[in-house]
């Protein structure tokens, strides 16, 4: 059974991510965060439920939609928001922008915005753990479209035949940009594929934070013990547009019923309901936590916005190590 403290902590992480994401959405039109952004609003449960089971030495890799993964794994929010503003204090010094978040101290190995391109990097991290007999796990976050790139299969194969401690976490939000998974894959491919490689597979509701946390806890301890990869497939939904600060449901590419269904299933709302119903937090307490986080994160945005770029300038950047 999950402890009350853990419940609170999961909630707080989801909240933190949500507030950062809404902060971006609110401020994007100021035109000071001048890079593409892919919000994870609606998909926070997966990042938080999985990463809560990881330590700083465990590594994750992510894709274009990396905000939630980065924060859930403990990535420095200050450096993240600096990155959005293109500041030299950003986690990549402004070089990569929002799609390249990483944090060496916290085990956010790399985010790569080329679909599936980070997957084999995660396999490499798993390889490193095995090579060094280090009892850690590499977690690979991927979207449903990543299943379509050949390198994904090559990576499953390597993970399996080399017996690497890797957890694949596939977030199926049913869409690749505007394109429905039905147009892109035969039915149930995504459900069957990892099993075909003899990789143990679990199916979870991607918006049920607690279940994700509990199941992943078990899965990760299995991986650490058995040194075999596993795969989790989670259904979820992105509430905002693919890229950008707004909702785009007026474009009608997703069924309104679907949107409504998932809206109700919002991981943040669900957690709040649960905490209240279990009397772990009162409405007032929740509201206080929210205010506190909001103030804190708003402050970061404000500070980051004001920052000056401090170099190195282009000529000082070294091409080689």
């Amino acid at each position: 059974m999950i402890s009350n403290n853990n419940l609170k902590s999961l909630y707080k992480d989801i909240l933190k991510i949500r507030i950062v994401e809404e902060g971006i959405s609110d401020r994007y039109s100021e035109q000071e965060m001048r890079c593409p952004i892919h919000l994870s609003i609606g998909q926070e449960a997966i990042a938080v439920g999985v990463c809560k089971n990881l330590n700083d030495k465990d590594q994750i890799v992510s894709n274009h939609r990396c905000h939630a993964h980065y924060i859930a794994k403990g990535g420095d929010i200050n450096k993240m928001i600096n990155e959005f503003y293109g500041n030299s204090d950003g986690c990549t010094g402004g070089r990569g922008g929002s799609m390249h978040l990483f944090d060496q101290n916290k085990g956010v190995l790399s985010s790569v915005p080329i679909v599936s391109s980070a997957i084999p990097l995660g396999v490499g991290a798993g390889f490193y753990f095995k090579y060094n007999k280090q009892n850690n796990v590499a977690v690979i976050f991927l979207g449903d479209a990543a299943i379509e790139e050949g390198v994904f299969y090559e990576s499953l194969n390597y993970a399996k035949i080399l017996s690497l401690p890797i957890l694949f976490v596939c977030e199926n939000n049913l869409f690749s940009c505007f394109t429905d998974i039905k147009e892109r894959q035969p039915k149930n491919l995504i459900k069957k594929i990892s099993k075909t490689f003899d990789i143990k597979t679990s199916f979870l509701d991607g918006n049920d934070t607690i279940n994700i946390f509990n199941k992943t806890k078990k899965i990760i301890s299995e991986i650490k013990k058995n040194k075999q990869p596993q795969f989790i497939l989670l259904d979820t939904f992105r509430m905002f547009e693919h890229c950008g600060p707004n909702k785009d449901d007026y474009l009608n590419y997703r069924n309104p019923k679907l949107i409504k269904k998932w809206d109700k299933n919002c991981p943040l709302k669900k957690m709040e309901k649960l905490l209240i119903s279990k009397k772990i937090l009162s409405l007032k307490q929740i509201s206080d936590i929210k205010d506190k986080y909001k103030v804190k994160i708003d402050n970061i945005f404000k500070k980051c916005r004001k920052k000056k770029f401090k170099g190195p300038n282009l000529k000082e950047i070294k091409l080689y190590a």
Partner: protein
């Protein structure tokens, strides 16, 4: 004289595609997003409505497989127009492009043709960063068997696209994102345009300038300033990068004795290096001053505007290079002031508000 019709480059691409598809039922369009609400920046607008899903094909995110499919179908006689929303995404398809696409004609003893058009859109600005703004013009130009074009004007986008579709060879079209909304006069009817050599668009006497894509527009914008100083130049739109026909450029340099080449891609190992080398092989004796290259510094594209600012050449760098080669450096400060520089470096125009 009929009134000129003014449309944008993306409309020109769209129009070319529709005309070609109507003319030849073997032409089809394929790519990630071709049927989505954004319609590849408007370039695939209405295609599905007019031609149906059979000829306008939305795909999974599998660039290499898609490319092989297109090549195979082209060997059989179809004429695919393939679209990648970024040059960078085509990196996954390089094996197919370099081996099967470029070599099929050669290795089949000239029996197979691969009449495929691969549209690659170059990202720039708004923090696109290292993996969404690669240009790689000289990478593609380096593969024997591919044609590589890079239209700059709306008129060319249409005419060259139509030629590319008709051409029996694989044609890589490098489309600079910032040119999509540029407007210009474009004939309504079908017409095709040379895709075998660069296009001389200005005549002058003091020097030869070679540029393409967005840089070409920048050269045109500083033209007035230069003319006001009595500077005139031959200007080549290097909108055909491969086959790289440099005859007319060499003739020009024989006349002017000076050359500036502006690479859209890296200066290092860029197209400019090949052009300058051919100049020194062919008319070394005519050079009145050292050839000058302008291009991107040899590093990935930084995302932040504070770095991207100095990454791309701009009107000022081009102007200064021209003044320097003509030994008119003392006019720099005066003339730089004439440059209108009201637009931030990371957007094509003020209407652009991100994110993509």
């Amino acid at each position: 004289m009929p009134k000129k019709r003014i449309i944008t480059s993306s409309e020109a691409i769209n129009e070319a595609t529709i005309i070609a598809m109507k003319k030849d039922k073997n032409v089809y369009v394929i790519g990630e997003g071709v049927n989505d609400p954004k319609e590849i920046f408007g370039t695939t607008k209405n295609l599905k409505k007019i031609f149906g899903k059979k000829r306008v094909i939305e795909t999974p995110i599998s660039e290499n497989g898609m490319t092989g499919l297109c090549i195979g179908s082209a060997m059989m006689g179809l004429k695919p127009i393939q679209v990648h929303q970024r040059v960078d995404f085509a990196l996954l398809a390089l094996e197919q492009i370099i081996n099967n696409c470029a070599k099929a004609f050669f290795v089949s003893n000239s029996k197979h043709t691969v009449p495929i058009v691969i549209r690659l859109i170059i990202g720039r600005g708004w923090g696109q960063g290292p993996m969404h703004s690669q240009i790689l013009d000289s990478l593609f130009a380096q593969i024997p068997g591919l044609k590589v074009i890079m239209p700059s004007m709306p008129r060319d986008f249409k005419g060259m696209m139509l030629s590319a579709i008709k051409d029996p060879n694989p044609v890589i079209v490098l489309e600079h994102r910032w040119l999509h909304n540029i407007k210009g006069s474009v004939p309504k009817k079908f017409y095709s345009q040379n895709i075998n050599k660069p296009n001389k668009i200005k005549n002058g006497k003091d020097l030869t300038i070679v540029a393409n894509g967005y840089n070409l527009l920048e050269v045109l914008e500083i033209q007035k300033i230069l003319n006001s100083e009595g500077i005139s130049f031959d200007l080549f739109d290097l909108n055909v990068i491969q086959p790289l026909n440099t005859d007319s450029i060499i003739s020009s340099v024989k006349k002017t004795g000076r050359i500036i080449v502006i690479d859209s891609g890296f200066k290092n190992l860029g197209i400019g290096s090949e052009i300058v080398t051919r100049i020194s092989e062919n008319c070394l004796e005519n050079l009145k001053s050292k050839p000058v290259r302008i291009g991107l510094p040899f590093m990935p594209t930084p995302s932040t505007r504070f770095l991207a600012n100095n990454y791309y050449p701009n009107k000022k760098t081009i102007l200064c290079a021209i003044l320097d080669i003509l030994k008119k450096g003392k006019n720099k400060i005066k003339l730089e002031k004439k440059l209108k520089n009201n637009i931030p470096i990371d957007v094509p125009d003020l209407s652009f508000k991100g994110p993509f």
